[in-house]
Amino acid sequence: MSDAAIALPHSPPAEGPPPGSPIPGGRIPGSKAMWVGIFCEVTEFALMFAVYFIARAHYPDVFHAGPEQLSLLAGTGYTLMLLTSGWCVARAVHSMRANRQSACLRWLIGAFVFGTGYPVIKLFEVRWNLAHGLNGEAGMFIVTYYYLTFNHLIHVFWGLLGMIWVMLRTATGTYSAEEYSGLESFAVYWHTTDIIWLMIFPLFYVLR
């Protein structure tokens, strides 16, 4: 770990290049602890993706026909909900940087509403799947699909709980333009969960 990184464990420095521009040495967005958790999450999903690719290699015909069984509309709906929620979170962080706490809270509420759309769609999709006989005995593709997407759903639930926490902290004025590492830690977790979905979506709903 570089000295610059150790010296900047929390929020961005008050002075220096704006967010989004390269910084020599860089900083740790959020907190180190959150990044440890994120790398654990990424490792977990990397292993599950390895299982997916090996299963796909062994059962190419099953995986070729698999996406036709699922609802592409539901898959696209998840994607749009998560992307919009992630956008709201990014806007919330920018609002806090501008010291606009009330705007930050409004963006977080928006993020929560769109984020909650994910489990709501999941509920309808699972009911639709089961009505069409897509249960745990419906073959390798469906088993892999349930295994990966339910794991992702658990991570979304963690994120939604974290979102409630940062909304409460924002509402009580805990964060400021100078110190918002908790909010930023949540944001990087939520965006990583978003990235993982952007990988899951084409694997199960699009690729044949």
């Binding site: 967005p29 696209t76 992307l83 920018h94 990087v188 084409p202 690729l207 044949r208």
Partner: protein
């Protein structure tokens, strides 16, 4: 262009890519070319999220390297396993 405006455009681009990507593969029996296109769309979307939402360009080198390896590795693996799936099946079949 302001940072906020960039975030808005990034969201709009992600929505377009998501809908376009879904239309690209959905409902059609496609070959290797479409698989490559879907993988590229995946990589582009992930790059936008990493750059504008996750703000990886400002992160430390270790974080950047680890995340970019994961994010750009996935589309490459999609293409490779599509092209060499039979070899992967033989190798893993011998190991398992």
């Amino acid at each position: 262009m302001s940072e906020v405006r960039k975030l808005d455009l990034a969201w709009f681009g992600l929505v377009l890519l998501s809908v376009g990507g879904a239309m690209l593969g959905g409902g059609q029996d496609h070959g290797f070319g479409v698989t490559v296109a879907v993988a590229l769309v995946m990589g582009l979307k992930v790059r936008i999220v990493c750059g504008y939402y996750l703000e990886l360009p400002t992160a430390t080198r270790r974080i950047r390297r680890a995340m970019y390896t994961f994010c750009y590795g996935m589309p490459i693996v999609v293409i490779l396993t599509s092209a060499f799936g039979d070899i992967l099946a033989r190798v893993t079949g011998a190991l398992l």
